[in-house]
Structure formats: structure tokens, C-alpha cells
Symmetry: C2
Subunit: 333 residues, 2 copies
């Protein structure tokens, strides 16, 4: 029900995902009458792979997380997360209010023992392919220990979804030299150096999209990560706008635009944010994927696909096992 468009995009995205993957089962949680309307005759077509779960409430996009938690016990997001807790669903995908989704997920699912805080991880496009980044805004004042925990968890996620043995992990800083940065990143660097992880050192903001070094995973405080992510969005939007204005500014430009259209479309697809939609909440005892609130059906499909991959690759169990092993190691050390 969440996001800017609700079932208008979540329903079509769900139907397409069901068509694409014959092993997928989806439970749509929300206003049953409305959902039935949107689905129409297709409900029966998927042989039980598409079911509905009624929820009488909806969390508004700007509702405070604490109010949602207290007053919306039958909201679509709460019911969906309850189903994850009760083993009735393997993951929850939502385009709803991020703060409320995080608070509800934390309250209902609880944290993996040994992890202090949940973190939000997603991928961004880069010259080398793409980069996984966390935290993107769940925490605004991380300690070095939190950053270390984020690295341990996300390392398992990246290993599983990318099929790589030792993801290269960088710590986001304002310089690559050891002396640079605040105490938080300097201490986190020491924790990462002492860990068995493939820590490659400090990386700078440009490494997110176009670093000199090849890095699979970048760890940072949620305040910094969120600013970086949105800076990227703004930068891409500015370049797109300037490009449009340049081509639209003259008859010659308009003709050049027509000729260049297939080329420009091809390169724009490589940075299409809809193909990077879906952020995972790490640290919880259940999979929760947050879609951008403004997602269209293509973007929401990407978020569902991410959930499918994380379920298939058993990401949650791998993280839990690794956290337990890391804790055992640090306690015996």
C-alpha cells in the first residue's frame, strides 16, 4: 500500500515478477477490496502463487515512526513484517515510509544477537559495475564498532549475491592516507585491519561511482552515506537537465538529439536508478527490502527481484552465522 503510488505500481510489478519466475510466491498485504480490483481476473491465473492478506490500515508517508508503531497495528507494513516473523513469508518488500518500516521491522523482528543497530544497504552504479554501500541512513551517529558490524554483515551479503569469495571492502573517508579522517573511521580501520575481512583501506567519495581503486563494498556512517547517495541523485539529475536543455536549445540540437537518441538511451539505461532500486535492512532477524517511495513498476520489480536473490542465496542465515562466529572469535581473542 505504501509509496507514492501504492497498488497502482506494486500490483503490476508483482504480476510481472510472478510471470517471470515460476517458483515465486507473492502475498500482497493491504486493503483486500482495493487489491482485488487492481488484480482483476488474474488472481486465479497463478495457481495459488498469488495470495492476498488483508490489512485495514496504511502508514502515511510522513507519519512519525513511533506513532505508526503505536497506532497502526493492522497496517499493511506491520502485517507483512509479522508474516516474516511468523515464517509465513521469507521477506517483506515495501515502498512505504522508511522510518516507520525500520522501526516496525526492528520492533517485530528484533536484532541478530551481537548486532547493535540495523543498517541500510543498497547498490549504486559505478564505472566498474556497481558498488554496495551502507549505511544509507538508518544511523546518524555510528561508532567504530557499528561500522565494523556493518562490514561483517554486508560482507556476507555481497559474497552471497555477487558470488565472490572475498569482497573488497573500503571505509569511506576524506582522504586515503592513514592520518586522515575522524576518530570513528580511524578506529574502525584498525578493527577492519585486524579482522579476517578483505579490507582495502580508506576510499573517498568518488569511489562510489568512479574510484581509482576497485572496491565491492563501501562502509560509512548513515548520515554520510545518505548525503552521498542523494548528492549522486542530484548530480545525475543536473547533468540530465543540462543535457536536455542543450539539445532542446536549437533546431540543430533537436536534430542531433533525434540522431543520438538510441545512443543516449543506451547510456542512460546504465545509470537508470530504477535498476538499482531496493535497499536491504541488515541486522534484523528477517529480510526486509525497502523500495524507493517514488518507484514505478519497473523499479518495484527490481526490489522484489532483490528479495528473491537474497532468499535464494540464504543471505539472512549466512549473516547470522557469520555474526555468531565473529563474536565467538572476538570473545576468545
Amino acid at each position: 500500500m505504501g509509496g507514492d503510488f501504492g497498488p497502482d505500481i506494486t500490483v503490476p510489478a508483482s504480476l510481472e515478477c510472478l510471470q517471470r519466475n515460476p517458483n515465486l510466491k507473492l502475498i500482497l498485504v493491504g486493503d483486500e477490496t482495493l487489491l482485488k480490483q487492481k488484480i482483476g481476473q488474474k488472481l486465479a491465473a497463478f495457481n495459488g502463487r498469488l495470495t492476498l492478506q488483508h490489512a485495514s490500515q496504511t502508514v502515511e508517508m510522513h507519519e512519525s515512526p513511533s506513532k505508526a508503531l503505536k497506532n497502526k497495528k493492522d497496517s499493511s507494513m506491520r502485517v507483512a513484517i509479522n508474516m516474516v516473523r511468523d515464517g509465513l513469508a521469507d521477506a517483506c518488500v515495501s515502498a512505504g515510509n522508511t522510518g516507520a518500516l525500520m522501526a516496525t521491522a526492528k520492533f517485530v523482528l528484533k536484532m541478530i544477537p551481537g548486532i547493535d543497530r540495523p543498517a541500510i544497504i543498497s547498490t549504486v552504479p559505478s564505472i566498474n559495475g556497481h558498488t554496495h554501500v551502507l549505511d544509507l541512513g538508518a544511523n546518524v551517529d555510528c561508532t567504530a564498532e557499528h561500522l565494523y558490524q556493518f562490514a561483517v554483515m554486508s560482507n556476507e551479503l555481497v559474497k552471497a549475491v555477487e558470488n565472490i569469495e572475498n569482497p573488497k571492502i573500503g571505509l569511506l573517508n576524506i582522504g586515503e592516507e592513514e592520518v586522515k579522517g575522524n576518530e570513528q573511521v580511524k578506529t574502525a580501520a584498525k578493527l577492519l585491519e585486524a579482522s579476517g575481512l578483505n579490507y582495502i583501506g580508506f576510499v573517498e567519495g568518488n569511489s562510489l561511482n568512479a574510484g581509482n581503486v576497485n572496491v565491492d563494498l563501501i562502509v560509512c556512517d548513515g548520515f554520510v552515506g545518505n548525503v552521498a547517495l542523494k548528492t549522486m541523485e542530484g548530480c545525475a539529475k543536473m547533468i540530465g537537465t543540462f543535457m536536455k536543455e542543450a539539445f532542446a536549445g536549437s533546431l540543430y540540437g533537436k536534430i542531433a538529439a533525434l540522431i543520438s537518441y538510441p545512443i543516449i538511451k543506451g547510456f542512460k539505461d546504465r545509470i537508470d536508478p530504477r535498476l538499482y532500486n531496493g535497499a536491504s535492512f541488515l541486522g534484523l532477524k528477517g529480510l526486509v527490502i525497502k523500495s524507493h517511495g517514488g518507484a514505478d513498476a519497473l523499479a518495484f520489480k527490481t526490489a522484489i527481484l532483490l528479495a528473491e536473490v537474497e532468499i535464494e542465496k540464504n543471505v539472512l542465515q549466512k549473516i547470522s552465522e557469520q555474526v555468531e562466529a565473529s563474536l565467538a572469535m572476538s570473545q576468545s581473542a
Copy 2:
């Protein structure tokens, strides 16, 4: 002498600036023999507007600030900053080691009374024109009071160089709602609301290049600002690379590129980082402009031009007066 190319770019940039502005006087500080070689016959042509000041040492690009301060007392940057202190120059422009330049400037020039920390400010392109941003990396752990001081100082700079009465000031945060963010920005917001400044509230990372709100000046912690600036660089580089690859990927693309070349050049010029080169150190009792180390002659010219504008607009005096007035106000309050 500093930067990746030293006098190979600083000398040609200086000569062009002297040609453009007949009121400009430049003192080139560095290895006199080398500088004379690079300048050749042109030294006499400017009727004394171009002079040389010998300095026997050079600070290396990766030298530690403390070592440079201790061991390089006759470096080009130290001598140039000394000349600012002694009133022999109105500003120092350098492409050298940022940390060493900042440490030297702070040591030699001292802080404006009432300001705890210097900050680095520069402009970035935006859909609305451009945005001034600080701090870009001088401080990695600012308090709310520091952020407030940055706003007071930079407000004067923006008023002077942009000829506007009340610059719109935003505080960089991870959401626009009051409840969002860390304690540092929440407290800074209260200080700014209580000030006479035209504080418009929290802005997000996308506001740097392409915000929904029109903002002239964005204030943030140096860690966050530096990451954002470099993220922007990386994002622009990625998009440029993808575009090049798309056009170069086929014969059709190559032909389209030829046809679109003047259009693409026009829009690329709007985000050419060389036209945004030059960051001012605020809070010191003297003007110091830092050029990007990798600047070419065009970029270095932009940094010299920024110094010219700040001198002409009397930015330093305006900041000092405003800081004094703000302090008097806060003491009487």
C-alpha cells in the same frame, strides 16, 4: 610551485590574468631561476605588475602539514602567506598541499577573533546556477557552534561576491523534517533559526546540484562536505565515461557523436570543474585561495579570478566586522 604541474600551469595562468585585468598585480613566489625561465621575455611587459619573490623550498604534495610547518620555513607557500600577513599581498593563491596550506595559513595568519576553526568554501554547479558549500574538509568533527560560525562567515562572502542581500542558507541533513538528523545539525538549526540570517531549513544532498528548493549556501561538517564533493566528482566522471563508451561503441554512435559534438560540448562546459576551481579558507585574518592540485591553466585562472573578486569586494573585512557584531550580539543576549 605547488600542485601537480607547478609553474608549467601557474605561470601561463598568471600571464593571462595580467592581460585580462589591467589593475591586477601578481607576485609569483617560488624558485626564481625556474620562474624566470618559464616567464621568458614577458617579465618586463607588464610594467611592474608582475614581480617575483624567491623561495628556496617547496612543500611536497604528500608531505605532512606539521613537517611542512616545521621544516619548510622558506617554502613558496610559507613565503606567500607571510606576504599576506605583512600586507605585501592581498591574497595568496596556491595549488599546493591542502593540509600544509591550511596549517601554514592558520599558523601565520591566525584566526579572526571569535572564530574557533577555519573552514573551506567553494561553489558547485547547480540547476539554479551554482551553490556555495562549506566546510569541504578542514574540520572532521564540527560542533553546532562551528556550523553556526561557518554560516555567519560564509553569508558575508556570498552577499559580497554574488551581490545579494540575504543569501538563502540551508543546513545539510538526511531529511527535511525537524526530527531528522544528528544532534549537531539539530542544535545548529536552532542557532540559525535564532540568528538574523536567512536560514531556510534542512536541505538534502540532492540540493547541492539540483534541489527542489532554491538555496544559495549550504553549511555542513567538513567530513560530510568533502564526501559529497568527491561523490559529485565521481558521479560526473561515471556519466561522462558511460556517455563516451556509448558513442564510441558503434559506427552509428561515432557519427552521432560528430553531429552532437557542439551540443555536448556546450552542456559539458556548464559543469566544467575548471570553472568552479578555487576554494576559500574562511576564518583566517587573510585571504587564502586553494586551487585543485590537478588544475590546468584555465582552472588556475579561475582560482586567481576568485581571489581578485574577494579582494575587490572586501570580503575579509566584511567577515571580520560581521563576526565581531555577531559576537557582540550573542554576548549582550
